[in-house]
Symmetry: D2
Subunit: 217 residues, 4 copies
């Protein structure tokens, strides 16, 4: 494995012209964290294709850590996803108009995979930096969950030494301001800073498996 952090964001969907998860990835593209270099990846909001793109990037970059980021309507804090489940049950169609209902992601795969990122350490570091964060118990059943489960499934089946997980972020304040909506949001600087902290903690915790004690949920 290379000293590469694969940082993924999604293409816009649901009528939005930008997707903050992708803007974060672009913003951190090429950045060096203690010798680990960020490779930004745009993931399509499209069934099957999303995982093809992930798998190709894993083959190409052979990253040590994969952090996938997605937008979660209504959430008010950075959410470290605990688990990805073997389910495609889309509440809305994807960008190809597909809407699988009650289907597995991998008919041969297990029910679920836990994140292999140090999610409790990341929550602690975020909170210590003044950014609200928590461990979430569901990444939903749309593309975000599909990328989380599918990537962990691919890593496991191919016995790759890659840490991987998913982070849901609140909406971008400027996006909500422009729409005139009243839902939780955070400014772009805070969102970028959150992912930087997640990257730093993931790198450090890879070499340092010190147990982080205490309830953070």
């Amino acid at each position: 494995m290379n000293k590469i952090i694969l940082l993924t964001g999604f293409e816009p969907f649901g009528g939005d012209s930008i997707n903050p998860s992708l803007e974060i990835a672009k913003n951190l593209q090429g950045k060096d964290f203690d010798g680990f270099i960020v490779k930004a990846l745009e993931v399509p909001v499209r069934d099957t294709k999303c995982l093809n793109v992930m798998e190709n990037a894993i083959k190409e970059y052979q990253p040590s850590v994969i952090i996938s980021v997605g937008l979660a309507w209504g959430r008010s804090a950075i959410s470290l996803e605990r688990i990805g489940i073997n389910t495609r049950d889309y509440p809305i169609p994807d960008n190809d108009g597909q809407q699988p209902i009650n289907q597995p992601i991998d008919p041969e795969g297990p029910a679920a995979y836990f994140s292999t990122l140090p999610i409790r350490a990341i929550v602690k570091e975020l909170r210590d930096s003044g950014i609200p964060a928590y461990i979430s118990n569901t990444a939903g059943t749309y593309l975000c969950n599909q990328v989380m489960y599918g990537t962990l499934n691919y890593i496991t089946k191919n016995q790759l030494p890659i840490k991987s997980g998913f982070i849901h972020i609140p909406y971008l304040s400027s996006q909500i301001a422009q729409k005139g909506e009243i839902i939780p949001s955070l400014p772009f600087e805070t969102l970028v800073n959150s992912i930087e902290i997640a990257i730093k903690t993931s790198i450090r915790q890879q070499e340092d498996i010190l147990l982080i004690a205490g309830a953070v949920n």
Copy 2:
């Protein structure tokens, strides 16, 4: 297996004097649904003990179907849980004052089990009866999830032909009225009726594995 429906509710916790999930089970104790008899079971809100009680009841009654019911603060509709995960991460202590953080339920068990109840058919029947319902993607990481995961784990390991799953219910209207709170609730009659519909659908679907199509999430 016997023509028994094991219907479980929890003892009160968190300072409440009653637990609607237990009141529902008591209310339906002994009731006959097409030849299937309800056995009501009170489950302790206590780590380890909760699963001991479940396993003993399974041995004693050898039920065909297990429906476990629990209270979910803030939910506004009947929630059919999709999945139980191998995690104990209690947000508050249990009734013995125990609060495991970030522990598995079964260190040897898989990450998760899907409900084996016909959850989509139950959602459809509830909605057709005028009761709001949906499929939930998380049963949390407290005792409700522990009972769901632990029961499915026991059934799987012992290769028992039992359908099992978990249903989260909103608070009882009279309980919220008494406390003077402003959170979603439903009257007792609606809650009892919901579980009756879940029982009837589970019995029928056991013999009738017709696929229920259409997104209900």
Copy 3:
């Protein structure tokens, strides 16, 4: 004034085929409460017309008490409105396609009127009957508020001895079930029962101005 309770509900709006507030009024039409008879009135969701209809009904029936009921998306309990304000600022167009923004209801009127119903006694009676209820501090700036403010304004200007106020109710469970949504709701029986309790308390409190002490908010 006659021993008449004027009970008003709104015509459907926003794409719904029924409006529970109107169904409640129809259900209680003609009912006798200690010699007081309910007159049900359908109020249009239309600027200006809504108050014309209210004023004509007041002239025709000369009621002792007016209870206006409206639907409030997302509320989880019976809401006794404390105050109506002199504002039309519609978040969506009315049923005539009109959408006044930042306009007064009566350019000569005061900023606001407090409800003259015994709202604290009603909250207490509802809670004692097992129905969640609270005092709300805003009836919004749409037709519900317009009917509340406009009716109290008419009564005050004409020095009529009529008690009047507004009650917001949650959505009807069967309506939410049919739509497959996940928002708070209550069954029809509970909603009807709530308004019956409000009527009985309003009649009794008209003769009994005993102070109801204690915070119920």
Copy 4:
């Protein structure tokens, strides 16, 4: 009147060690906006005393504009309050342990006063600057509303040419992070920037009463 902006925040309450509204006022103390100087004022969370402090400051500084700021648990955007009502109905005791229930602020005062700040222009400017904002229809019935109503009442009774209003802000992100809670918040920089925009718009709109059209609710 002097070219003074009186900017008020509250002392901490409810167990918190700091109150972001006060931190904002301190941060902007003495700042010059087009010749208008900010005077920061700490307002006690104490019945009666809060208005004594406001009135003394008005006499001392003779400000042109008063902007009072308060914290609103759970709100996710900057809230420009439309109206203050003649009600003290505290949901929790104040910092002196007083908890008036269902009392007027001024037994001789009118039911309510509308904000005299250009609230729609402020919402527009905030949104154009990428900060979520909206017009709120209730400032509650605690100290925030008391300061809003009481100040407008004093200004009106004394016929003072002062623009005055109230702005509710979300919780501070670092405060929520420290508590480990999951409610909406914004970083300190965003909160300070919001109040700066409100000040600038209030100054400009005082000389420019151009109508700001369009629904912003």
